[in-house]
């Protein structure tokens, strides 16, 4: 017979059991195991500096579990974003994220993660702390998307991504332009207008300049330069562009531990184009017979032209090719060139110095350095280096990986640098952003976030030439495609009469092209 006492005991026991059961389902902290480490995220968004205007950093939680709780908020504060899901693909609500960042500019936020396994055990990981920068990043990223291309090209496009959201739209897909090759896109001082785009296709390889919705087609070939323009840089004044003219060959390695492709420039020269005069000019210092000059970049004040230069070398000695970083002064108004100066010598660096990019405030120059050669995206040794233009000297950035880093570009406020990196898999280049603080420290880079956190696990295209612009590129695909295929008018550049062709590189008169259209007939 049950006594009152037994009944009370039974009731008490029942209550304890029920409480225990419900506490398991509800994440009762008394049952939570505490991990001594932070959770693994992919992409790795731990200890990073985030632009205050960037889209949510969605990620995949790489911890096992059947239930996941993610709380995001100010450090030590209440969670402003709570995510409770049974999938490790974490998608942060965009509105709440924007609010969180705007309320914590210059402050840190933390991500707290709990997981539950099938047995009902909860785990609490150490909080991830990220910092919200004071400085915004430019609103759009423009880049080329293409597959790993060898000799043939068929499908590619130039796209723009709104960095404050996940919207991506095409600026020009080459399927609308008879599969023309779309080369490098360049903007003047991070503005979306004007845009310069070099193309290859058929007998012509025009340069397009999009201004105010209109597109001008410029034929830059003259009696001096038969090669189409390759790399371009806008003069800060907006009225001049410096192009490189490259005589490039694609050749291949057999060692499976290295990138199969490599580019060799037999020769290259630099020319400056003036929009006002429609004139191409150059000087022996940047178009010599004995040296290959490439990768031009204007200084922030427009008084100097930086570029990479190396003695012309046969392809058999490609392993010994190393470029110096040079500069020369140039007065765009008078057309006066100054003397050549060596900024960083290859001998001093022990590396080939390539792709100089000057910050808009003129303080820094970031370049790539690789153990040899001139096309860093194909060289796993390629790393980002910074040259301090005020105090001199250069150093290797801490943000590098074992794979190729290249194709970097500054934001308009000089606080952010975007670059392509193959660090995820050694094959596909992905865009990363690094924050440069007032002390000149380059912070841990963040991968361009995507709406689908697992996006990069199946994206078999490579992101090429990422460039930051502070607004949306408005020119229509139609206008760009028409300018390639059937331009109303082609502006034919003329050669500066002061240029004495015979003195300059003869090789620039021989057009070569390592790539050809792979469109099937």
């Amino acid at each position: 017979m049950m006594t009152v006492r037994s009944g009370l005991l039974l009731a008490l026991l029942s209550l304890v059991v029920v409480a225990a059961l419900t506490s398991v389902g509800a994440g009762n902290t008394s049952d939570v195991l505490t991990e001594s480490r932070t959770p693994r995220l992919d992409p790795d968004y731990t200890d990073v500096v985030i632009p205050p205007n960037m889209a949510p950093l969605n990620f995949v939680l790489q911890e096992s579990g059947v239930e996941f709780r993610i709380d995001i908020g100010a450090v030590g504060g209440e969670a402003q974003i709570e995510i409770h899901t049974d999938t490790p693909d974490i998608r942060i609500p965009i509105k709440a994220w924007r609010q969180l960042l705007s309320e914590n500019i210059g402050e840190s936020i933390e991500i707290r993660v709990r997981t539950r396994n099938e047995a009902g055990q909860w785990r609490q990981y150490q909080s991830i702390t990220n910092h919200v920068a004071r400085d915004s990043i430019d609103s759009h990223l423009v880049y080329r998307l293409l597959r790993p291309v060898y000799n043939k090209y068929v499908h590619m496009g130039i796209y723009q991504r709104d960095l404050t959201s996940f919207d991506e739209s095409p600026i020009l897909e080459n399927r609308h332009a008879e599969n023309a090759c779309l080369n490098c896109h360049t903007f003047h001082q991070n503005r979306p207008d004007p845009m310069l785009l070099e193309t290859r296709g058929g007998k012509r390889s025009p340069v397009l300049v999009a201004r105010g919705g209109e597109v001008e087609t410029i034929d830059t070939i003259t009696e001096f330069n038969h090669s189409p323009a390759t790399y371009a840089t806008w003069h800060p004044g907006g009225q001049h562009v410096c192009f490189s003219l490259n005589n490039a060959t694609l050749f291949f390695h057999t060692d499976p531990s290295v990138e199969t492709r490599e580019v060799f420039d037999a020769t290259s020269e630099l020319v400056v184009y003036s929009f006002q005069d429609n004139m191409i000019t150059t000087t022996p210092a940047i178009s010599s017979l004995d040296f290959a000059e490439t990768w031009p970049e204007w200084s922030a004040d427009g008084k100097h032209l930086y570029f990479s230069s190396t003695p012309v070398t046969p392809i058999e000695q490609h392993q010994d090719v190393r470029y110096d970083l040079m500069r020369i002064s140039y007065d765009v108004d008078s057309g006066q060139w100054g003397e050549l100066e060596t900024v960083v010598s290859a001998a001093e660096a022990g590396m080939s110095v390539l792709q100089p990019k000057v910050s808009p405030d003129g303080r820094y120059l970031v370049c790539t350095m690789a153990d040899h050669g001139n096309f860093p995206v194909f060289l796993s040794s390629s790393d980002l280096y910074v040259v301090d233009l005020q105090e001199g000297g250069f150093r290797r950035l801490e943000i590098n990986s074992d794979e190729a880093e290249s194709w970097h570009a500054w934001s308009s406020n000089s606080r952010w640098l975007v670059f392509s990196s193959k660090r995820r898999d050694g094959l596909f280049a992905r865009p990363y952003f690094t924050y440069i603080d007032e002390e000149g420290r380059f912070h841990k880079p963040i991968l361009l976030p995507q709406q689908d956190p697992a996006f990069y696990d199946s994206f078999i295209q490579t992101v090429n030439v990422p460039v930051l612009v502070d607004g949306r590129v408005e020119v229509s695909q139609r206008a760009l495609a028409r300018a390639i295929l059937s331009p109303d008018q082609v502006t034919k550049a003329v050669l500066d009469p002061a240029v004495l062709i015979d003195e300059l590189a003869a090789s620039s008169r021989s057009p070569t092209e390592p790539y050809s259209s792979g469109s099937t007939p």
Partner: protein, 611 residues
Amino acid sequence: MRFWPRLGGLGPHRAVAFFGLCYLYVWLQIRPYLIFHVQEPVFFSGWSYLNGFLQIPGGISAYAAAYAGQSYVIDWLGALVITLVMACIGLCCRGYVRRVAGRRLDLFAFAPAVILLILHNRYHYDLAFDLSLLTAIAAATVSARLDQKRRLWWFVLGSPFIYWIAGGAWLLFALLCAIREWLDKRPVEAVVYAAVGAILPWLATWTVYPGTLENAYLHLLPISGPYLHGSSPFMAVALILYLFVPVTALLAAYIPPGKRSGRVAWNTSRVLLVGIGGWLVIASMDSNHRTMLEIDHQARQRNWKAVLSLVPELSAYDVLTVYNVQLALCHTGRMGKDLFSYPHQINAPIFVPSPDSPARLLALGDNLTDIGYINKAEHMLQEAVEIQGDRPSLLRRLVMVNVLKNRPSAARVYLGQLLRSPLDHAWASDYLRALDVDPRRADDVEIRRLREVMLETDYPGFFSPEDIMRQLLERNPNNMLAFDLLMGHYLQTAQPDKIVQNIRQLSQFPKAFPGTEIPRLYEEAVMLWATQVRLRTGAMPKLPLFGRSLSMSTQRRYSQFSQVLALHRDDPRRAKIELAKQHGDTFWYYYLYRGKETGVPVVSRATRHVQ
């Protein structure tokens, strides 16, 4: 049966019989798995893949075709899909003409199906064309069934959608709607419909479509440049298909029906028409082309014996077929014996015919992988991806290449994409799990084999086939495939001295060359070399056979060859004819009569099987 659609007045039984025959033809003669082999319609799940199709007129038809095309891997199912689509087109054609002309077409309702079979006989004809055509004709048939006011609304509201779904076939839809109005004695409406049909694509290029005017009008019409494949007859047949319905409708409307003949005459004419249609379909099938496709298909599956068994069916061949046959000889250990018994190139490297066409890129990629030239294999495969698109067969190969290059993360990205392909999802899942266990896939027999032979030294630049083989043999002297290809290369480029220099290497492969055996063609090269030295120096050289010996049968045969040659010393033409009878498969015959030309003859002079 009362409600069964009466197709062409033949009744349901004969209709089933007709389309049943079509089905059997597609299944057993065309063989959808070969269509898949040629086209490999690519389909991936997910919004981003679909979005690309939504940007262009006709994209939806292409997307649906890509999905339906996955059925081709199951032969009978692929045949069913194609036949159903053809039957629907036939139904709609008949329905339209019946509505506008008030007449049933009898057998001519089946003509579109016959034309479609002729077009599908060419393996490049995409199902997307069929779906685009079906959309246009079905929409026109629906329109034809409506009253005038509803037709107008249907045209106005439906046109943008029909255009965006069908692409270029929209022009046919507009024409058929105009014909409907014309035959209804509304010429003004007819002209307006035709004008809208002509203008809408142009309007699209100024609004929603950034592509070219040509694409706006002609996308998915099999008469435009990208689809012609260099064939004017193909374009003519496609034109007939698209013009069939409008022309037939007008003829049916304006030509009064004749007196009905007697039953016997009527049946005879039907049988005759069916016979003519059947003859056209069968005559338009290029069975030699089909055999070459079959050979390529078997070669890509590495069914080398099947490849060789198909050769007797060939009456002509191309470079790729020869390449596949030679690979089959290599893989079955018959290169040294049967090279000249099978189709072969003349005076050309045995290896790497220039990758002018995408189909060759895959064959090259496979061969380069098999011999261990991994980076070059990657090059070929990436070129193929760039030209042919993200075909899963290519992506699978790139998975293996990246594992071999110790880039498992890159392999995972390709696998991630393959997870979205319905036919490859399971394979990709399994492979990802295997990579989780071992990123180097040491459990995979083929990968283990390839790691033993693959080149690890860097030779930057461009190399001849001979250099490539030598590099591989330096890496691993036991690379049998590389050795076989090298020796085959020396045979085909008529370098007997190089064969002789490499006889000593036979001992590296005791299984392939047991005992004192020397493959027949190598023996023949040795004997020819010895004769050349003797003629040059006056003395017979010592044969460097390294413990091996020349067989009596080859020596006897050489003697016979020499006798025939001597007998017809003054009549080289006669000598050649006589020698071809018994010695056409020898190295000696090839050496003497290969001439100066290079490449692949349409018909091999030496191969006994082919005349």
